[in-house]
Structure formats: structure tokens, C-alpha cells
């Protein structure tokens, strides 16, 4: 319902603010700073993996188009044989 959606919307905002409050002083602690930079490195790695994944999906979508074209031509040929019969 609309009210539930409104609640979810407000709760998500509150969650975001809580997260920011948690990390508010993160930058001051040198030890946590290294953790932060490690997380930054991980994000770069994951983004690279997602780029590769996106390429694979694009390739799959291309293959889908070829498979569909093949399917359509097979349907035509089946009709030809049926007509022949």
C-alpha cells in the first residue's frame, strides 16, 4: 500500500543516515583509514568484474539474436517441407 511504500522510503533514508553516522569519524583513525583504502581497492576490482560480466551479457544478447534468426528460418523451412509433403 501507499503507506507501506512511504514507510519503506522514510526508513531507507534513516538507514542511510545511520550508516553515515557510523562512518562519520572513520577518517580520523589511521588503522581504519587503511581499511577504507582496502575497501576502495575492492570496489575497483568489483567494478572491473562487473564490466566483464556486462560484456558477457552483451555477447549472450547477441547470441540470442542469432538463435532467434535461426529459429525463424527453421520455421520457414519446416513450412516448406510441410508444403512439399
Amino acid at each position: 500500500s501507499d503507506l507501506e511504500q512511504l514507510c519503506t522510503y522514510v526508513n531507507e533514508k534513516i538507514e542511510n543516515i545511520k550508516k553515515i553516522l557510523l562512518i562519520r569519524n572513520l577518517g580520523q583513525d589511521p588503522a581504519l583509514k587503511t581499511t577504507l583504502s582496502k575497501i576502495g581497492d575492492e570496489i575497483i576490482t568489483i567494478n572491473e568484474l562487473l564490466n566483464k560480466l556486462e560484456l558477457e551479457i552483451q555477447y549472450q544478447e547477441q547470441t540470442n539474436i542469432s538463435l532467434k534468426e535461426l529459429c525463424e528460418s527453421l520455421e520457414e523451412e519446416f513450412k516448406d517441407v510441410e508444403h512439399l509433403k
Partner: protein, 32 residues
């Protein structure tokens, strides 16, 4: 973790790509 999930999905996508490419080849041979 998110990284593991992405890696798993990437492996799956690669496997399916390989399968669909060989399927396409096979179907074309049979059609001809």
C-alpha cells in the same frame, strides 16, 4: 561476499556463452 557473487555469476555467464555458441554451431550444421 559481493565479490564472490559477482565472480560466480561471471563464471556462469561464461559457461552459458560457451554452451550457446556451440549449440548455435551444431544447429546450423544440422540445418544445412
Amino acid at each position: 561476499t559481493l565479490k564472490d557473487n559477482v565472480n560466480a555469476l561471471l563464471d556462469k555467464a561464461r559457461l552459458e556463452s560457451h554452451e550457446s555458441t556451440s549449440f548455435l554451431k551444431a544447429a546450423k550444421i544440422l540445418r544445412n
